[in-house]
């Protein structure tokens, strides 16, 4: 859930109006997948290619007018995990692989973050629909994202209430049961909430199918962005 709270800042960034924000989410998603594939398949003996990828990603972040330092700090969350594996690899005497592991994981997370920070999540779901992710699954994600903070706040309130009563159990065992009780209450509230939502849907004439979303047209600008992004990525991957 800490990660969900982190999302608050990304969500704020995603409502920007930069040139990158205005590009169609489908174009950005495909560009991301091409970029990630290029990063994943780059040899460990070509450090300059990684440097070029960083420059490429940096220009996207610049284009999106996103706060560079905050973005880097967010992406750095992957580093402790990478560092452990990198350290072991280095220990085994393979420095290039170690360095590349850190570079690959950092580049990948930064790229994914750039997409999330320059695209409202609803548009991102539309883009995933374009890639044939099953619509029911996307609707589940839509509801999940809608109620993420609502249910999260419930936990925060429950925790506050427990603290007001003198904190959760002194002994480990009673604390454990109190926590299990909290999970039970949360489950119950979630179930009731889902029931309430379903009633509200029925009350507005829900017929068993969600109305199809409006699909925005793919503009020349989006095509241009996609072509440029793919061309530059592939060029960096193979030509350098």
């Amino acid at each position: 859930m800490a990660s969900a709270l982190r999302h608050a800042s990304v969500e704020r960034w995603s409502r920007g109006s930069s040139p990158l924000h205005r590009v169609d989410a489908r174009a950005k998603l495909i560009a991301l997948l091409v970029f990630l594939t290029a990063v994943a398949t780059t040899s460990k003996h070509a450090p300059w290619i990684y440097a070029a990828f960083f420059v490429l990603l940096g220009s996207a972040i610049f284009l999106a007018r996103l706060p560079v330092m905050a973005m880097l700090a967010r992406a750095a969350l992957v580093l402790p995990f990478s560092a452990v594996f990198a350290a072991m690899t280095w220990w085994a005497g393979d420095f290039p692989t170690a360095a590349v592991l850190v570079a690959k994981s950092f580049l990948s997370i930064l790229a994914a973050l750039t997409l999330a920070a320059s695209t409202p999540w609803v548009r991102l779901l539309d883009a995933l629909a374009f890639l044939r992710v099953p619509r029911p699954l996307l609707l589940v994600i839509q509801f999940l994202a809608r109620y993420l903070f609502v249910v999260g706040n419930q936990v925060a309130h429950m925790r506050l209430a427990a603290q007001a009563r003198g904190g959760i159990g002194k002994s480990s065992l009673s604390g454990f049961h109190a926590a299990a009780g909290a999970v039970g209450v949360l489950f119950a509230r979630s179930w009731e909430r889902a029931d309430g939502i379903y009633k509200a849907m029925l009350a507005r004439g829900f017929t068993g199918r969600f109305p199809a979303p409006q699909v925005a047209p793919f503009l020349a600008r989006d095509v241009a962005f996609l072509c440029a992004a793919v061309f530059v990525t592939v060029a960096v991957r193979f030509a350098l």
Binding site: V122, R146, A200, R204, T207
Partner: protein, 240 residues
Amino acid sequence: MKPETENVIDVRGLRYRYPDGTLALDGIDFRLHAGECAAVFGANGSGKTTFVMHLNGLLRGEGSIEVCGLRIDGSAKADTLAAVRARVGLVFQNSEEQLFMPTVLADVAFGVANMGLSSENAARKAKEALEQVGMAGAAEKAPYHLSAGEKRRVAIAGVLAMQPDILVLDEPTTSLDPPGQRELLQLLRRLPQAKILVTHDVDFAAALAARAVFFERGRIAGDGEIHSIIEQFHWSRGSE
């Protein structure tokens, strides 16, 4: 007594038993004229909310219910229910559950789209309804970011977009601050629809409705001018 044809709601002998066997409604007779506004009072658990759930077929009991000449009974077909749900706009107490779509515009368009309108037409109707409640500027916002008063107005827009003849509001003043309540009152006064107001907020109800019905253990114990009902059942907070 106005002629029978002007009743937008005509309920006779309505009885409802919960699955667990509790008798929730025990012979309700209730009629509402076009454009009339009635408050529904009664203790918690007296059957108020259960009653309004019947008005658009969310719950089905024994007895007869007619909404704008449409009969809702056990054999009511899906299209009859859909027509009834377009006529009766039900605004629930919990706006968080009522506003389940990712953006304000998508949410307000949900009911209209269920009526079979194209997504463009649904969006147009939704914008008109948002205009009507003074929330046109929030169309692209996420419901989560709205204040309680704004959420309530968007929830009302969600049913207004379907152009109902009757508005049913369940505890509309819950979690609204006094300015929010004032704005809601002004909005509801402007709307020409017949209204049923289920509430504990006697002052709010008296400012809007001329008539009140009083529920007691699943029956209507009193029906008449709102101030006399309040007096008859000692249904106000204060010393006078």
